[in-house]
Every structure is written in C-alpha cells, then in structure tokens.
Amino acid sequence: MPVVSFFLIISATLFCIGLMATLTRRHAIFILIGIELMLAAANLNFIVFWRYDSQPHDHPAGILITLFAIAIAAAETAVGLALVIAVYRHYRTTQVNSLDQLKG
C-alpha cells in the first residue's frame, strides 16, 4: 500500500475522531478539542501532499501553509476558550445543548 495513502488514512481517521468528538461530546471544551484534532489532521494532510509531491522542488509551500494554519488554529483556540469561559461565567454551564438561546 503506498505510503501516501497510509498517511492519508491516518489523517482521515484522526479527522473523523475529531469530528466524532465534536459531534458527540456535550462539553464545550471537547468541541474545541475536536476542532483542534481536525485541524491537526488537515495540517498533516498538507505536509503529506507537500512531501509526496511528484515534482521535486525546494519551495516549502506545504510547510508555510501548515505554519499559518497552526498560527490561526492557536488564535482560534484562544478565542474559543475565552468564549467558553465568558459563557461559563454568564450561564454557569458549559453544556452545549443547554446553550440554545439562538433557537429558531
């Protein structure tokens, strides 16, 4: 089995685990964790495709994108967690399904 698809499968599974975490867990922080996992999986994919690119070149596009993705993910997590804390401070709960004031 080609190494590339091995890595792709790993990142796919990592992604789906992240997705499952996000979809199943009630706790707000777990959703963020899920998102983090999904982002990590995505970054992994970037690097894999950069590494196993058929035309060899020394332009580190994959790496750069991953760097930026990591930076943005960090920013996102910071804001997300800040939100969670603010919500917790206001509603005394982080149970996502009870935070449905935006209900239709």
Binding site: L23, T24, I31, N97, L99, L102, K103, G104
Partner: protein, 656 residues
C-alpha cells in the same frame, strides 16, 4: 357735403331704442313710460322728415355711409346706412304711423297693468323697423329683420296669461322663422358669390353692376331664397297662416305691425334688392319675378275669399291685409316697383286707420270682436264711423278723393302691360271686386242695421283715441294728391325722375274699369247684407262654400296634419331613438362596467386575498417546520455541515 347727414342716419332708430330701454329699466309709472316713448317717436319723426327733406334736393340721389362693425382675423364685417328715395319715404311713413298708434294706444291700453312694458315693446319695434329700413347691408337688414320678428312675437303674446295669445305669438314667430331660413341661406349664398353683402359700396356693392356680374347665374336662386324671407314676413301664400292668428295681440299692435310696418317689410325687401330679382331681365320677365307674381296672385285671391267668410272684425282686416300684400307682390313682380311701394305707403295709412277704428269699436263694445253681435254703431260712434268710412273707401279703391284707388289703378296698369301672361290682370280685377265686397259686408254688419247684443250701450271712444283716427284719415286723403296720374310726384321721385303737372292724364281707362268694379262690389255688398242678422246671409245661400271660407280653407288643418304630423312623428322617432339607442347603450356600458367591477371584486377577493393569505400561511408553516431544525444544539448544525461536506466530496469525486 351731402354725405354728412347720412352719417347720423343711424340716430333715427337710436331714439326709439333708447326710449324702449329707458322705459324697460327706469320708468315704471304710466305717464313716464308714455311720455318717454312718444318723445322718442317724435324725435325719430323729426329726423325722418329732415332725412326726407335732404333726399329731395336731387332726383335719384343716394347717400351711403359704411363703417366696419367688427373684425375677426383679417376679415372685417362692414355695415352702413343708406339714404335714397325708398328709404326716406319708408322712414317717414313708419315714424308717422307709429306716432299716431302710440298716442292711440295711450288711451286704448289705459287700464292695462303692464302699460310700461307695452310701450317699451312698441318703441323697441319701431326702432328695429327703422333700423331695417335704413340698412345698407343685407346683414344688418337681416339682423333688424330678426329683431322685428322678436318684437312682433313679444307684442302678439303681450297678454301672456291668454294661452291663445301665447300660441299665436309662437306660431307667428315660427312661421316667419321658416321663411327667414331661406332668407339666411340666400344671404350666405350672396356673400359666398359676390364677397360682400353691402348694397352700395362705391362700386363694389352687391347691388352695383360689378357685384351683380359676380352673382351671375345664381342671381335667380339668391332672389328666390330672399323672397322666401319676404313670404314668411309678409304673410304670402304658404306662410300666411300666422297673420290672422296674430290678431290675438292688442289692436294697436295689430295696427302697427300687421297693417302698416312689419308686413310691409317683405315688400320693402323685394323692392330694395329688386336689381337681383331683375338681373338678366328679358322683356321685363325673369324666373324670380314670375314666381313673385304668381305667389302674389294666389295670396291675394285666398285672402279676399277667406275675408268674406270671417266673423271677427280684426280677422277680416287681417285677411284683407294678406290680399293687399299679394297685390303689392304682383305689382313688384310685373315691374311696377314704384307703384308697389306707393300702394304699400297708402295701404299703411288706411289699414292703420281701419285697425284703430276696429280698436275703438272693440273698446266701445267692451272688447266684443264678433261683428255679428254688433250693429247700428253709426249713430252711437259717429267719429269712428266717419273715420271708418274714409278707410273703407280708400281700401276698396273709390277713386278721386282716396289714395287707395290711385295706387290700385297704377298697379293694374302695370299688370296689364306685363308680358308674362294676361291672367294675373283679370284675377286682380276679381280681387278688386272681392275687396269692395267684404269691406261693405263689414260696414253693413258693424255700423248699419239694428243694434245687436254687444253694441247696445256702446259709447264713443275718448278724445285721445279719436284724434289719431282723424289725423290718419286726413293723411289718407291728403296723400292721394301726390298720387294722381296728373301729378305723379311720388312715383317720379321714387324712380328718380322729376314730376311734371299734367291734368290731362288724370282720367285713365283703367280708372274707369276699376270704378265699375268697385261700384258693383259695394252695391252687391249692400244688397246682400242689408238686413243681416246673427247669421251671415252668404252662409244661408252657400253654407258649404261659406264654411270652406270660414275655416280658412282648411289650410291650418292641412298644415297640422301634414308637416306637423310628420315632424311630430320624426320627433317621436328621434325621442325613441335617443331613449332606446343612446340611453340603452349607456345603460349597457354601465351594466358592463358593473359586471367587470363584480368580476374584479371576485378575483381580487378570491384570487389575491386568499391566494396571498394562503401563501403567507404556507410560508409560515414551512418556516415553523424548518425552525425545528434550528434546535440551538450546535452539534445538530455540525452534523448537518459534515454531511454536507461529505455530499460535496462524493459529488466532486463522482464528477472527477
């Protein structure tokens, strides 16, 4: 220089007109009204005499003064005043007669409550009549012609409360109007062809040679159309029905309008535009003139015969006027223009005299007009009897002293010398005989015989009424001096020559013939009506013929059943058409609109409202059903998103 006076000619009608307006709006008391009217008339008479004097200076002199009445766009409508022998004579006659009648009516209308209004109408009438006579353009003539018609309508229908008076006024007005239509068409035709309606416009007038040439072949038609107006106004054959009914008005009115002036207007008109009639004359005969002659002949005979059958004193005189006018038309037709005009003047005087007499008789017999109820008034009303006698003599044509004879004699001589045909001459002789007959009949019934019911306590009219009678009688007699063939001054003056005294011509063969006829007529009349009682002797002899005459030869009924019936039918048809078709269509459109409105209401109500509410309901339901999806659970959203992404991936790969 000589045109100077003509410029002020229009003052003559202005005075009576001012008087009438003054009376209508300001003077409400009786003396005031009478005074103003009479003074207006006197001024008019003075000016008329001055005008007459002015025109005598030179034979055949003509003063013309034209001015523009109004302009619209570039075309200017010009009218003017004309002073020639015809005008001068007519002006004097009208003014004089009007004055006498004004004075007479002061007494006659004394106890009438609308005294002021009567005098206003009278002065208005005389003003318009004078205006008609002095007009130098057919247009202003036509305007005055219409105003005269209006005045006659107002005066005939003076006693508004009497329905017969109102009907008579209406009848008079309408019949004259029918004639006027022809006149108007003629006027337009004339204007159309020769471009101007001015009679004399220093060369380019329609009566001057240049205008006549322009007229050319259509001259006969224009003439005939203008003659229609004359027929209507002067009560010639087809349109004479209104004249006898016009007697409904007060007697001075009948005297003024239906004896002297208005009816004469027709003859004056023909005389004025005689050149159009006689254009392209062949031995003195043109188609137009022949028509005039025959109309005149028929009218004269009809008038005479019907007069025999009438029992109302004024109606007899009316029919005599009709026949005399017929005679005048004949004289004009045959070429004796001057003779016709002279007869017109004389007739004006003695017919006014006769009417005023009948007025005082009626006044005396407490407004009784049926001659069969009168009688023996010669002793009770001597002055009236004398004046009446003079008038009767003049009318029937007793020669020597009375003007009527001379004028008739002139006319008969002209008729005799007419090349058209001889028949009119003999018919006119019959006319003379009949005139004499019915006048003596009236004389016998009214003044001779025993006093019948109405004239039992008759008393002589007051001085104010008898004086004008005497004045008029004097005029009749004096007038004849100017007419005798020996010194035919007036005739020469009218035709523009100078007159020479020649006693030799006094006796003419025609005079003898007419003398014989008149004497026969009077004798027959005296013999027939010597012991006449309530029933007319002629009626005893020939009741059928008499009934025929009495019923005015069924002409009125003929008209009623023919023209009136048709017009009524047409009117009814039009009414039906209007009601059914026009109203119907409108109702139809209304109905359609209503249907349409109902339709729109339905579709609006059902279609739009329900449709809209329905769709709103639908969207709300859809919305509520969809809102279930927005459960607020973040995970639901995330699940949906991931499924969406998955679907995208699959589609993408499937497409790849």
């Amino acid at each position: 220089m000589n045109n100077l006076f003509v410029q002020y000619l229009w003052l003559i009608p202005a005075f009576p007109l001012a008087a009438s307006l003054l009376i209508l709006f300001l003077a409400r008391t009786r003396p005031m009204a009478a005074g103003v009217a009479i003074s207006g008339q006197v001024c008019a008479l003075i000016l008329a005499v001055v005008a007459f004097g002015w025109s005598i200076q030179a034979p055949g002199w003509r003063g013309v003064y034209n001015f523009t009445w109004f302009t619209f766009g570039e075309t200017a409508v010009r009218i003017g005043c004309l002073l020639d022998p015809l005008t001068a004579v007519m002006v004097v006659m009208i003014a004089l007669v009007s004055l006498c009648i004004f004075i007479f009516s002061v007494g006659y209308m004394a106890e009438d409550k609308n005294f002021a209004r009567f005098f206003a109408y009278l002065s208005f009438f005389s003003a318009t009549m004078l205006g008609l006579v002095i007009a130098n353009s057919l247009l202003s003539l036509f305007v005055c012609w219409e105003l005269v018609g209006l005045a006659s309508y107002l005066l005939i229908g003076f006693w508004i409360e009497k329905p017969s008076a109102a009907a008579a006024a209406k009848k008079a007005f309408i019949t004259t109007r029918i004639g006027d239509i022809g006149f108007f068409v003629g006027l337009l035709w004339l204007y159309g062809t020769c471009g101007t309606v001015l009679f004399y416009d220093n060369g380019s007038g329609c009566l001057e040679p240049k205008g006549l040439v322009l007229l050319g072949s259509s001259a006969t038609w224009v003439a005939l159309l203008i003659f229609c107006g004359a027929i209507g106004k002067s009560g010639q054959f087809p349109l004479h029905v209104w004249l006898p009914d016009a007697m409904e008005g007060p007697t001075p009115v009948s005297a003024l309008i239906h004896a002297a002036t208005m009816v004469a207007a027709g003859v004056f008109l023909v005389a004025r535009v005689y050149r159009i009639f006689s254009f392209g004359m062949v031995q003195g005969v043109t188609a137009a003139l022949t028509v005039v002659v025959w109309i005149g002949v028929i009218t004269a005979l009809i008038g005479a015969f019907i007069a025999l059958g009438q029992s109302d004193i004024k109606r007899i005189l009316a029919y005599s006027t009709v026949s005399q006018l017929g005679l005048m038309m004949v004289s004009l037709g045959v070429g004796g223009v001057a003779a016709g005009i002279i007869h017109l003047l004389a007739h004006g005087f003695f017919k006014a005299l006769l009417f005023l007499d009948s007025g005082s008789v009626i006044h005396g017999c407490r407004n009784e007009q049926d001659i069969r109820k009168m009688g023996g008034l010669r002793r009770l009303m001597p002055v009236t009897f004398a004046a009446y006698g003079v008038g009767m003599m003049a009318l029937s044509g007793v020669p020597l002293l009375f003007s009527g004879a001379w004028t008739k004699e002139e006319i008969l001589s002209a008729t005799q010398s007419w090349h058209g045909s001889v028949l009119p001459y003999y018919l006119m002789l019959l006319g003379v005989f009949l005139t004499a007959l019915y006048m003596t009949r009236q004389m016998m019934f009214v003044f001779f015989g025993s006093c019948r019911t109405a004239s039992k306590d008759a008393h002589e009219s007051p001085k104010i009424m008898t004086v004008p009678l005497l004045v008029l009688a004097a005029c009749v007699v004096l007038f004849s001096f100017v007419l005798t063939p020996a010194w035919p001054w007036l005739e020469r003056y009218l035709t523009g020559e100078s007159a020479t005294l020649d006693l030799g011509k006094l006796i003419q063969p025609i005079l003898i013939v007419s003398l014989v006829l008149v004497a026969g007529g009077i004798a027959a009349g005296v013999w027939i009506y010597r012991g006449a009682g309530e029933i007319d002797p002629l009626e005893q002899w020939m009741p059928a013929l008499f009934g025929f005459f009495e019923r005015k030869m069924w002409i009125d009924e003929l008209y009623d059943h023919s023209i009136l019936a048709w017009s009524l039918a047409v009117a009814r048809g039009m009414a039906w058409l209007d009601r059914q078709v026009v109203d119907g269509s409108i109702r139809l459109v209304g109905a359609i609109a209503q249907r349409f409105a109902a339709l729109t209401l339905v579709c609006d109500e059902e279609g739009i409202n329900h449709g809209f509410d329905g769709s709103c309901g639908l969207t709300r339901q859809l919305g509520s059903r969809l809102s279930v999806w927005h459960s607020g659970q973040i995970q639901n959203y995330l699940r949906a998103i991931s499924l969406g992404v998955l679907a995208l991936i699959i589609v993408y790969l499937w497409l790849l």
